[in-house]
């Protein structure tokens, strides 16, 4: 076994420290070592987007990163959307517009949506599709997901109008 390496990072506002094997992917670290199983393991080669998390604010595939590479990073996972159990407006919108069925892909879609709406509070349908193009859903169909993101944008603008930013 290769030498273990220390990893210190912040996930959803909380500091963590662990010793990991270099070959451990970030998604396996989040799930197996930190117990944050909201992030899903799908294809494990960067196609499906189910493992999408925010790395220093940017949506990345956590199956295509090593845990050791996240040393010093600030991460946000789907658990960070509803820290006190109250759903995030994006999560509410996915429920209201039926943006999920089995829910396996949902954490990835949610995190990609967080990045999109942070950078673009009023995305067009084309911009939504471009931002979510790296996430696969095999049951709901993308129409209701696009609708959910549109509704999420409305909800978030109402809470935090662009003029107040």
């Amino acid at each position: 076994m290769a030498k273990l390496r220390p990893v210190r990072l912040t996930v959803n506002g909380a500091p963590y420290e662990a010793l990991v094997e270099p070959r451990m992917t970030l998604v396996d670290f989040l799930r197996g070592e930190l117990g944050l199983t909201g992030t899903h393991v799908g294809c494990e080669h960067g196609v499906c987007g189910a493992c999408t998390v925010l790395l220093n604010g940017r949506a990345v595939r956590s199956c295509l990163m090593l845990a050791v590479q996240a040393d010093g990073a600030t991460l946000m996972t789907v658990e960070g959307l509803a820290p006190d159990g109250k759903l995030h407006p994006i999560q509410e919108a996915f429920i209201e517009e039926h943006g999920l069925q089995c829910g396996f892909c949902t954490p990835g879609f949610l995190m990609s949506t967080v990045e999109l709406l942070k950078e673009n509070p009023s995305p067009s349908d084309d911009e939504i599709k471009e931002a979510l193009g790296g996430n696969l859903c095999r049951c709901t169909g993308y129409q209701s997901i696009v609708k959910a993101v549109r509704l999420a944008a409305e909800k978030m603008r109402a809470i935090d109008p662009p003029s107040a930013r």
Partner: protein, 292 residues
Amino acid sequence: MKPPPFDYAAPTTMAEALSLLEEHEGEAKILAGGQSLMPLLNMRLARPGLLIDLNTLADLDYIREVDGGLAVGAMTRKRTVEDSALVKSRHPLLHAATLLIGHRQIRNRGTVGGSLAHADPAAEYPAVALALDAEVRAVGSNGSRTIRAADFFVSYLTTALAPTEVLAEVRFPRLAENTGWSVMEVARRHGDFAMAGVVATLALDAGRRCTDARIVLFGVGATPVRAQEAEQMLDGEAPGEKLFEDAGRMASEAIDEPLSDVHASAEYRRHLARVLTRRALAEAAMRAAGGH
């Protein structure tokens, strides 16, 4: 679908990275954005003894205007290129090609140097580099050398980099004022690797005749492929549908043996090369004439 065991090093200077590379020659692999290497590790198609991570070398992340074009540090993320006002204004071809690469999540992580050094023949940046006569700067412990794109892409996933060298920078020459450009591809889904694609540049001289054409096809061979005969037949001709149709046919015939796989047959790839070349030349001519 879990990577095999390997050691990992995160050097903080290039000198450190190079000495590790020399010490572990043949068993070390450079890790840049990881968007191609990590899948290879997860599927155990690659089994390096040591990964040398360049993500800790912050000074390889830059886009600078230099004489004649843009210098881009190897660890510059594709997302940085996508969002760069400098790239948008000075190099719209590079900007447009970047938008065709993978998805946003991939571009947030994947790097310019990684894409060139990985040398996937279906990737966009190698084709752009070849079309523009870009120059790659490789550094080794004995200093650095410049490699022209035409000499850099040797074969499938194989470049002219020595096992002890690191790609540090690429320089993309700017296009001349009278030159139009186009980058197009056909993929199964937007963001997938192209089944075939083309980068074309074309200038119009004072008499509105074609000159200095460049046609580079990608996704059709072991490396990006320049269609030199088709480029030459355009020289001195008035731009037009028939001319570009003929150039497209000639370009498609310039491909030795297009790849044939589950995504597309060789015949279909050749067809795409013909059609895409025709369309790209028409678009480049339109841009050269001042249209958008």
